[in-house]
Assembly symmetry: C2
Homo-oligomer: 409 residues x 2
């Protein structure tokens, strides 16, 4: 028997199931593996014997991979478990490889972000040490776009599309009253500002929102910020800005509310950068101001996915399968950009040591001199990633996704 097993891990994106669908579709085409198993809740499914037979689901559920491709979050569930070093806890690795052996597993695919790539690194090194031929392959995933070695990551394009579309709609909302107003949109991104940068894609011939963009890669100065806003208010009724949740001052302190807030149950609260800037603007400028925290909706809104993102994610899943057939191990699938106009990419791979535990930040020269916008290079880079809309089925007015009751207690 020649089987493989897949797992997903880390935070969700709308494209991580597309990567899974890519592996499944590719295997259905070439029939390389007899059975594709899925491990529930990341690598912990293997440790706890919580496994699915994905091949069987693919055979018995009509349109399974098509629906999987557009289903949000993670069909196999997730974990935030980082493997220890095998020298420290060899029994865990022994348990994993015993499982592989017992189930004729010849390849393990891990779809996830940095921590998942660390798992790929550790498992592949262990496999080398014990002389195992099992292929350990990583498939990238993150809305933050901060994985090194790949042009951009699965999940990022859809989150970017959601941000850009939502900001355009918010902009329409801000234009309706003939009064000065400031709108602050706080976007996910503690360390890397890629997603916040994508807000620039909301601009079109009639709408310049957001006029200001603040990323964590540049030190935030509240005085300069207030001047930025005041200047725009001279010639604009509506000022819209996009702000990373992770903006910080020159000393590295996050711009957020202090821990001194309490509520009517007497408990401390911590607010984000958006709320902090909202107060600052209200006090220093006195203009009507509100903040919008995009929150988890930006990572699970499958109804507004980028078809480019989903297709590329599936493509990378498919390529992972091919890599295992070619005998590669200890590698991560990557995407190389081969052209901007027209946009074109090519799947590739790199040694896992070149990816795991590194962070790709926005290059400083893709942020403008003033630190409140992004450059043309950034827009050229971003634009193709949000193109195209998948067909989503609706039933009784709500999207029709894959049944995930197997994840519930």
């Amino acid at each position: 028997m020649n089987n493989c097993i897949i797992a997903q891990s880390g935070g969700p994106t709308v494209a991580i199931n597309a990567s899974l669908a890519g592996v499944l579709s590719a295997n259905m085409e070439n029939g390389y593996f007899d059975t594709v198993y899925g491990s529930i809740n990341g690598i912990t499914g293997i440790l706890n014997s919580k496994i699915l037979n994905l091949s069987k689901l693919q055979e018995t559920i009509p349109g399974f991979t098509d629906k999987l491709k557009v289903t949000p979050a993670m069909y196999l569930g997730s974990c935030r478990y980082k493997l220890p070093k095998h020298q420290d806890e060899p029994e865990i690795f022994d348990k994993i490889f015993t499982f592989f052996h017992e189930h004729d597993i010849n390849a393990f695919f891990y779809i996830g972000g940095n921590d998942s790539m660390d798992t790929v690194l550790k498992l592949s090194e262990y496999a080398s040490e014990i002389g195992s031929n099992i292929k350990i392959i990583g498939i990238p995933k993150t809305i933050d776009n901060d994985l090194c070695g790949t042009d951009h990551t699965p999940g990022f394009g859809s989150a970017a599309k959601y941000i850009a579309s939502s900001i355009l709609e918010i902009a329409h909302d801000t234009y309706i009253y003939p009064v000065k107003s400031v709108t602050i949109v706080e976007i996910m991104g503690r360390d890397a500002g890629w997603l916040t940068a994508a807000s620039a894609l909301a601009r079109n011939e009639y709408s310049g929102a957001p006029q200001l963009i603040y990323l964590p890669e540049r030190a935030f100065d509240e005085n300069v910020f207030i001047e930025d806003v005041k200047k725009l208010l001279e010639t604009n009724n509506s000022v819209v800005m996009a702000v990373s949740e992770g903006i910080r001052d020159k000393d590295g302190n996050y711009i957020s509310a202090s821990a001194t807030s309490t509520d009517n149950f007497g408990h401390n609260q911590l607010s984000g950068a958006g709320k902090a800037l909202e107060s600052l603007v209200a006090n220093r400028i006195g203009v009507k101001v509100r903040s919008v925290e995009v929150n988890i909706l930006q990572r699970c809104a499958s109804h507004l996915a980028s078809l480019t993102d989903l297709d590329e994610s599936a493509e990378q899943g498919k390529y992972a399968l091919q890599l295992s057939m070619e005998g590669k191990s200890g590698v991560m699938v990557t995407l190389k950009r081969t052209g901007d106009a027209p946009y074109s990419t090519q799947t590739d791979y790199q040694d896992i040591h070149d990816t795991a535990n590194l962070v790709k930040n926005v290059p400083d020269n893709w942020i403008n001199k003033e630190g409140n916008d992004v450059t043309k290079e950034m827009l050229t880079y971003l634009r193709p990633l949000i193109a195209g809309e998948p067909v989503i089925s609706f039933k009784d007015g709500v999207p029709e996704y894959l049944d995930v009751r197997h994840l519930k207690s």
Copy 2:
């Protein structure tokens, strides 16, 4: 000449432009009015001479009404201006009717919520007093669904669809980790819980989220609430609840954070019901908990509009035109439900005195005995309103809406 003028007012919905499109389409069909004008920023456009020739735009911009129908927010801008009594400030009314006369205006259509209907009432009473034949007609609008005399309001169905779809996607997100968690989704609705009730439409065969729904029409009890949550956590890993921003205790106090919170700029902050309950759950139960504030996205997300809502909104705009042709004045267009299965409606109208300044709350017997869910009757009422998806054009990955630069300073 036989002209008319339209204005929009109050808070935006994704359907208020569909109502406007309905009037324009109907007039293009029957050619009753020579010119349809638009007043910018509600009734204040008439007072400040900020007017658009909508008929000309309809003739010169290809696909104008189709694109208008799906464009979010308000094409004519808005105002939050409530007319004074004409006995108090007769010069304002005189100015308005002089404008009507000078422009051969024979009908004024006001699309909006309660305050707008109050304007319709005042203008129509003044018209009667001075013996004017100008028809003053209201077209309803609100995401809150709290206008009396109509089965449901334009804008509500789309906001409900957005809530239901988003909660389903959030639910998928909550299922991924094998740990107990509570997710609180705070939804707009200070006084009426219709929109929060619509969260129930997110439930399907595999997902029961939200398992708890709290509306402002029932007194909120924190102890009962904690018991509700604890009970569900016994048999569910993920507990998702929908909460109106306007929930209050039995003494009428809003459940929200106190005004004692400050941020690192030293300013007071006020948090919502969602954040307050998040603290309560964290303290009393100690489970992983987060709150999501849907915020303005629920009222401007045209990419997820309900086609039923848009069609009905356009239908009501069209009927308003017909009413003016029939010589009616001082009335509001309404919608009567003529069937649940299959769902059917009929446009109607009612005297403006029966609507203005009244609020339609959720009937008490549509909330369950325990005060934490809605009944079957509510679901039967809600379900048809979110059906159908309009075709939205995308350009470079973002929705293509009508140019609204005429609203900007």
